[in-house]
């Protein structure tokens, strides 16, 4: 990223005459040299000068900001900036305001978020961060660094107030995009991992609630791998047998199933596929095969039938995987 606006060079600035710029030494035959802009060369020459003298001052904050805006991956500029802030006692809320601006331009740069972590470790103003992140996720709802930072804020500061509205937040993210795996992951993090609070002891009720939530989302989008992975996560974590969901899953796998005789009663526990849904769902076939495999014995043949249909028809890119499952079944 280069600046297109021309900045005044430090080498022309009388306020910097007392600093000796140090040009980059790149040997006689530099390898993969970057054709720096004049602005970058100028700023980093002065930055090296400052590194050598050890100066920590207001103008160094301006200098490091200039370097960072041109190259947000310049980890030394960040590190030196942070040390300068601490040395000067710069108000940290001002730094956060500036970072809000820089983050918006460089969401995918690791250092932007790392610096923010360092500042937050000092200010501990976690609540306002969550609000800021809602805005950032509005720009890019799957940005890995942003989610990672939100998970850090929550787990690091972890007071009850901070967690209070997190489920609502996840709900709204999933309402906007039911296929957002980052949001599904975050939901698991909130309900089953770092977000578990004292008083949340009734894990069974929670598992029931989340199984129902997953079923409802699956009925809206039966081929959404994120929802199925989440459902599996909940079942695994709560020790719930996959077979207890067979009645729900069968229609998605295009199977009549043993519970079909009850199908004339509307079952709110087991929402049915919507008319026109693309079925069978690969994930449902896989799920039922897992159920049959676990049941073993004669059921293994039913599992193999499903794996074969996945391999040959419904999920051919994973043909080798389904064949492997079929071969491995019963041998473990």
């Amino acid at each position: 990223m280069t600046t297109t606006t021309t900045t005044d060079l430090y080498s022309d600035d009388p306020q910097w005459v007392d600093v000796t710029p140090i040009p980059q030494y790149d040997g006689i035959n530099p390898v993969a040299p970057i054709l720096y802009t004049d602005e970058y060369k100028d700023a980093t020459d002065y930055f090296r000068g400052v590194l050598k003298s050890g100066e920590k001052s207001e103008r160094v904050l301006e200098l490091t900001e200039r370097v960072i805006r041109m190259n947000p991956a310049h980890y030394t500029a960040w590190q030196y900036r942070y040390q300068t802030i601490l040395a000067l006692g710069t108000p940290l809320d001002e730094e956060i305001t500036l970072m809000n601006d820089i983050a918006m331009d460089h969401l995918k740069t690791y250092q932007v978020w790392h610096h923010r972590r360092l500042i937050l470790t000092q200010t501990k103003q976690a609540a306002q961060e969550l609000a800021f992140l809602v805005k950032v996720l509005g720009l890019d709802n799957k940005n890995y660094h942003t989610w990672a930072y939100r998970q850090w804020i929550l787990s690091h500061f972890s007071d009850d107030d901070l967690w209070r509205h997190e489920l609502e937040f996840v709900d709204s993210m999933l309402r906007d995009d039911i296929r957002n795996n980052s949001a599904w992951h975050h939901r698991f993090f909130v309900l089953f991992e770092a977000g578990v609070r004292a008083g949340d002891e009734d894990r069974e009720a929670l598992a029931r609630q989340e199984i129902l939530y997953s079923k409802e989302r699956i009925s809206l989008a039966p081929n959404n791998a994120s929802a199925w992975n989440y459902l599996r996560g909940v079942l695994d974590r709560s020790g719930t047998e996959y077979s207890s969901l067979a009645g729900f899953v069968e229609p998605y796998a295009g199977l009549p199933g043993p519970t079909a005789s009850d199908a004339d009663t509307i079952d709110t526990e087991n929402p049915a596929p919507q008319p026109g849904a693309r079925l069978p769902s690969v994930a449902a076939l896989e799920f039922m095969a897992d159920v049959y495999e676990k049941q073993g014995g004669e059921r293994l043949a039913d599992a193999r039938k499903l794996w074969t249909s996945l391999a040959r028809e419904h999920d051919t890119i994973r043909q080798k995987y389904w064949e492997y499952r079929s071969t491995a079944a019963g041998k473990l």
């Binding site: 030394t76 890995y144 990672a148 992951h185």
Partner: protein, 368 residues
């Protein structure tokens, strides 16, 4: 199994050209790579190496210059020795010694040290200039309380990528002394997610790249140490099955692998995910023809491989990793559209051509 007849040839001359252009110089728009130049050099030299075109695609004096430049990044600091990403914070002026840290921020960097050692091994450097004791003390100084490693001494900037690079260096040195392995393992295990992959930090979403670094790290730990660890470092049968499931699930209809559930395929994840499967002994589950078809479409018209079909630029990172994925495929006996797709075999743990990995291990374990 047949590859689609429309699969083009692997554009070897174009990929060599792309990497040589980058070694020659990068445009100002790439200034974001200033603090990771050595990694770019590794991807470029590695590309020539995997294609088997290092000798014919470069001149002896060029290789000599690359070697010399990489050694110029070797720095002995108060925390020990390793390689810096480039000269970007070197403050020595003409004639002054640059092999010693020139200011407090001029330190070695773990990821760059890993890429330097592999690059030098590709160039058949004897690595005699490496000071093993100093290198180990640098790595030790980077291990943090929680078991993770920071990229540079004294920083809090740590994630699984750094653990991987540190572990790869310990493996090559065949010396893990002074490292708290159980703590490092427990950090890795804390990064495991319910999906069966690993996130970048504890609690994060499963992601292909960090899953590779987690698994490769766990499976590089020497046997003798493995057996004494509780809980064990390697995956249980249940965990392994779950990870294999998640990894194969990342191969998309486009033929390539995605980095996270529900995302689009991206060339680099063809390496991260399929190498992970290899580590778990499940590399044979990859649909190789689909990967090759995808790669064919990722090739950029002016050389190099882009992250996805239709992108308007290629880069050395995606070029190298795509070829690394194809190397693994070749070794698994993939049906190749033609000879142009045949590549040299790769060590999936160290991410280097097999004989380069052997070279690195032989030279490093003998280092003084």
């Amino acid at each position: 199994m047949f590859s689609s007849p429309s699969t083009p040839q692997l554009q070897r001359p174009g990929h060599v050209r792309h990497c040589k252009y980058c070694l020659f110089g990068l445009p100002g728009t790439q200034v974001g790579l200033d603090a990771s130049r050595l990694a770019i050099v590794f991807y470029c030299i590695g590309t020539l190496d995997l294609l088997g075109l290092l000798d014919s695609g470069s001149k002896p004096h060029e290789r000599e210059e690359w070697r010399r430049w990489i050694w110029e990044q070797y720095v002995v600091s108060e925390h020990g020795a390793g390689f810096r990403p480039g000269p970007f914070v070197v403050t020595a002026v003409d004639g002054e010694d640059k092999s010693r840290s020139t200011n407090a921020h001029d330190t070695p960097h773990i990821i760059m040290t890993y890429t330097a050692v592999i690059s030098l091994s590709i160039l058949q450097d004897d690595l005699k200039r490496l000071d093993k004791k100093q290198l180990l003390s640098f790595l030790r100084s980077c291990q943090r309380e929680d078991g993770s490693f920071s990229t540079i001494p004294g920083s809090t900037d740590s994630d699984l990528r750094t653990t991987y690079c540190a572990f790869a260096i310990f493996k090559m040195l065949d010396d893990w002394s002074g490292i708290d392995i159980p703590r490092a393992v427990s950090y890795i295990q804390r990064c495991r997610s319910y999906e069966g992959g690993y996130g970048q930090y504890p609690w994060n979403e499963a992601q292909g790249g960090t899953t590779y670094t987690a698994l490769a790290s766990l499976y590089m730990i020497p046997e003798a140490v493995q057996s004494s660890l509780r809980p064990q470092a390697r995956l249980t049968d249940v965990e392994r099955a779950q990870s294999v499931r998640w990894l194969v699930q990342q191969q998309t209809e486009a033929g390539g692998f995605s980095g996270r559930t529900g995302k689009e395929a991206d060339a680099c994840y063809c390496f991260w995910c399929s190498a992970s499967l290899d580590i778990l002994g499940a590399g044979h589950l990859v649909d190789e023809s689909a990967v090759i078809g995808f790669m064919g479409q990722c090739q950029f018209k002016f050389g190099g491989i882009a992250k996805a079909p239709g992108e308007d630029a290629a880069d050395p990172y995606h070029t190298y990793l795509s070829l690394a994925a194809l190397s693994l495929g070749t070794a698994r006996g993939a049906t190749l559209p033609d000879e142009s797709w045949k590549l040299e075999p790769l060590n999936p743990l160290l991410n280097a051509r097999t004989s380069v990995a052997e070279w690195a291990q032989a030279k490093m374990s003998n280092a003084q």
